[in-house]
């Protein structure tokens, strides 16, 4: 019944099946919206956050979605600025994911603040020294850019494209997309970085604090680098998920392998930097403040040294090796393992830089502050996921997200 909207020649599941799927996810979405409403109406007492844990689960979710949404800016950068043209076959997906991630991040921030109606004070009364101000500006500007990048794709919908105005608009926009991609890449670099800076500048929190360059702590650069490195992993992961769900090949292997290779080298360089950073931090920065490395990783059941090992070795070195070595990369299973580990790794890094920062005691007589999120927090954190699933499904169904789809279908027929 919605066939007129579906890209020409594309094969999609029957509408009732699609609608049912959307309804199921929609129910989850509504649950999240309900929790969000509670947080807005009754206040943040609906969460299990407290004065020791001012940043918690959904701020992690915020950082994590932005990191994995990093595929958008990095792929955009590679395609439009560095001219790696093969990537045009995956750029649409990267943009959709980026759009979802950034809009989710904005939504999470709007729920997270105590006086949502004053949220715009961050622009109106901005303190330029604050990393969060930088975050807010970059986030909203890059969101605007992503919207602009997303629009042409929407305009390519079969019916919209019939309108000459939109058709031309879409065409023109494609023409200037490089400019936006470059701007977006720049903004997002700063945005990813400033998110890293959020934790890195906290010199009252030895676990988070890092020295740095000018006003930016090392975490600033590490965050940008890690988002660029791991973001494509998520783009690939979503692609693989789509291919799995639709049981269709959607992107050609050479594109996948190219992106995987780039990601691999990025992870390699990132993980080297991360190791150097960790060594310097453990050996110089923290001891100056009276802490030895193990002070941060002992004294409670959850935050053991395993977390550092997992982040650096299992989710860092391992995917780096797999993705850089051609033989491994082209092994389907290993590739899948690597991109999954990559996504887990960057999420774990963001977790550590938000939740462990809050948990580590600073005063000698303080104890570890552990916390369990309330259902409202969990629902609100799942909300963007549900929203993302719906949006990306709609996009896949009605927009030509995968340019190679038809071609691949034809060849595989």
């Amino acid at each position: 019944m919605d066939s007129a909207l579906i890209p020409e020649g594309a094969r999609r599941c029957p509408f009732p099946v699609f609608a049912t799927g959307i309804a199921v996810v929609g129910a989850v979405l509504l649950w999240g919206v309900y929790a969000m409403g509670l947080c807005w109406l009754k206040g943040l007492n609906q969460t299990n956050m407290n004065d020791y844990y001012g940043f918690a689960l959904w701020i992690w979710a915020d950082l994590a979605v932005i990191a994995i949404g990093g595929g958008a800016f990095f792929t955009g950068l590679l395609k439009y600025v560095f001219g790696i043209d093969e990537l045009k076959n995956i750029i649409n997906l990267a943009v959709v994911i980026g759009f979802i991630c950034y809009s989710s991040a904005l939504l999470i921030l709007a729920i997270d603040i105590g006086q949502p109606l004053r949220g715009w004070f961050i622009f109106w009364h901005a303190n330029v020294h604050s990393m969060l101000t930088e975050v807010a500006f970059c986030l909203s500007l890059y969101f605007a850019v992503l919207t602009i990048e997303f629009i042409p794709l929407v305009l390519e919908n079969r019916q919209i494209d019939k309108v000459p105005f939109f058709h031309n608009l879409s065409h023109n926009m494609h023409g200037i997309m490089a400019v936006f991609a470059a701007t977006g890449a720049f903004l997002s670099c700063f945005h990813q970085g400033s998110l890293g800076g959020v934790a890195g500048v906290l010199y009252g929190r030895p676990f988070a604090y890092r020295e740095g360059l000018l006003v930016w702590p090392w975490t600033f650069f590490l965050f940008t680098w890690s988002a660029a490195a791991y973001g494509p992993c998520f783009t690939l992961m979503v692609t693989k998920m789509f291919e799995g769900i639709t049981r269709k090949k959607l992107v050609k292997d050479n594109v996948v392998h190219l992106l995987a290779k780039i990601s691999g080298w990025m992870i390699t360089t990132y993980i080297i930097a991360k190791i150097i950073d960790t060594i310097y931090w453990a050996g110089v920065t923290a001891p100056d403040m009276g802490f030895s490395l193990m002070d941060f990783y002992s004294g409670n059941a959850f935050y053991g040294i395993w977390i550092l090992f997992t982040e650096i070795v299992i989710c860092g070195i391992v995917p780096a090796v797999i993705l850089t070595v051609k033989k491994y990369r082209e092994n389907k299973k290993l590739l899948l393992v690597a991109i999954c580990l990559g996504v887990v790794g960057v999420c774990l890094n963001r977790w550590v830089m938000v939740l462990q920062v809050m948990a580590v005691p600073v005063m000698s007589f303080d104890t570890w502050a552990l916390y369990l999120p309330s259902w409202q927090e969990i629902a609100t954190t799942i909300l963007p996921v549900a929203y993302g699933v719906i949006l990306i499904s709609l996009a896949y169904r009605y927009l030509p997200v995968f340019p190679q789809e038809q071609e691949l279908y034809d060849t595989n027929k």
Binding site: I113, G114, S130
Partner: protein, 281 residues
């Protein structure tokens, strides 16, 4: 107005004698009633309980009967930040300029109407001195009658913290202006509510830049080291983080002074030695 702490401006600070403190809690209640701090039915979760002044209980963790405890009242430290330039951990991170550093007083402000509740400052503060209004403040019927007009009551969703009873400084200045003394405020004219109420006389408050003031005499802040105390029995909480707090503690007990900061194995011995040298000079 100079943009650092080294000029002629005031630098208000507090010295707390931990050997005199009895942990009675008067400072906490004096503060709450002075500053319109609300309360709720269950305040036993100390991590969501608004107490601008809170009293930590420290223990030497030794077995009976070698055990010793010490109460440590903790207001906002009004950190001067690295280099004492006024970039307190919290001030520098606030995205909306809802908290700033008063270069004329050394006091870190918090403007509730500006704050939109991002709680970044709370994450930045290693002393847990900042509190979030998780709930709308509610008083039992009629109790709102006792609210003071000197401090504006807060709404849900904003951060609040100790202000060193800044409104008392405002009032003292009003009087000084009115009596045409301008900025010459006597030591006794501006005292915080906790200082005034402490039945043990453990809290002293005054201008750390004024050698006549008791706080100065007690700790002898070193102007070349951002106000680090020269009195070997005095210390500041987490000195090594370079937050440069304006609250000093005094104790004769070594374990208490050691608990004031983090030391890796063997570091305390060296620290003690250098403190000892300082004492001789």
């Amino acid at each position: 107005m100079t943009q650092d702490n080294h000029g002629k401006a005031h630098k208000f600070g507090m010295v707390i004698d931990l050997d005199k403190c009895t942990g009675c809690g008067s400072c906490m209640v004096a503060c709450m009633s002075e500053n319109n701090v609300p309360f709720k039915e269950d305040e036993t979760n100390k991590k969501d309980s608004l107490t601008w002044m809170t009293v930590f209980k420290l223990s030497n963790e030794k077995n009976f009967p070698e055990t010793d405890i010490c109460y440590m009242p903790r207001p906002c430290m009004h950190c001067g930040g690295k280099g004492d330039h006024g970039h307190s951990p919290c001030v520098s991170v606030c995205p909306a300029t809802a908290t700033d550093y008063g270069y004329d007083t050394g006091i870190v402000s918090q403007i509730y109407t500006r704050c939109f509740g991002c709680r970044y400052c709370m994450g930045a503060c290693p002393y847990h001195a900042r509190y979030f209004n998780w709930w709308d403040p509610k008083w039992p019927d009629g109790m709102e009658e006792y609210l003071s007009p000197d401090v504006s009551p807060r709404m849900r969703g904003v951060v609040e913290k100790c202000s060193f009873c800044y409104h008392r400084y405002q009032e003292a200045r009003d009087r000084a202006y009115y009596e045409e003394r301008r900025d010459t405020i006597e030591e006794g004219e501006y005292q915080t509510a906790c200082t005034q109420a402490c039945p043990a006389g453990a809290i002293t408050f005054g201008d750390l830049h004024n050698p006549e003031h008791e706080v100065y005499k007690l700790v002898k802040p070193d102007p070349h080291q951002c106000g680090k105390p020269r009195n070997p029995k005095a210390f500041r909480l987490l000195e090594r983080l370079q937050t440069n707090p304006k609250v000093y503690y005094i104790s004769e007990r070594e374990w208490v002074r050691k608990a004031g900061d983090n030391y890796r194995k063997g570091e305390w011995g060296q620290q003690k030695k250098s403190d000892g040298d300082k004492g001789h000079k």
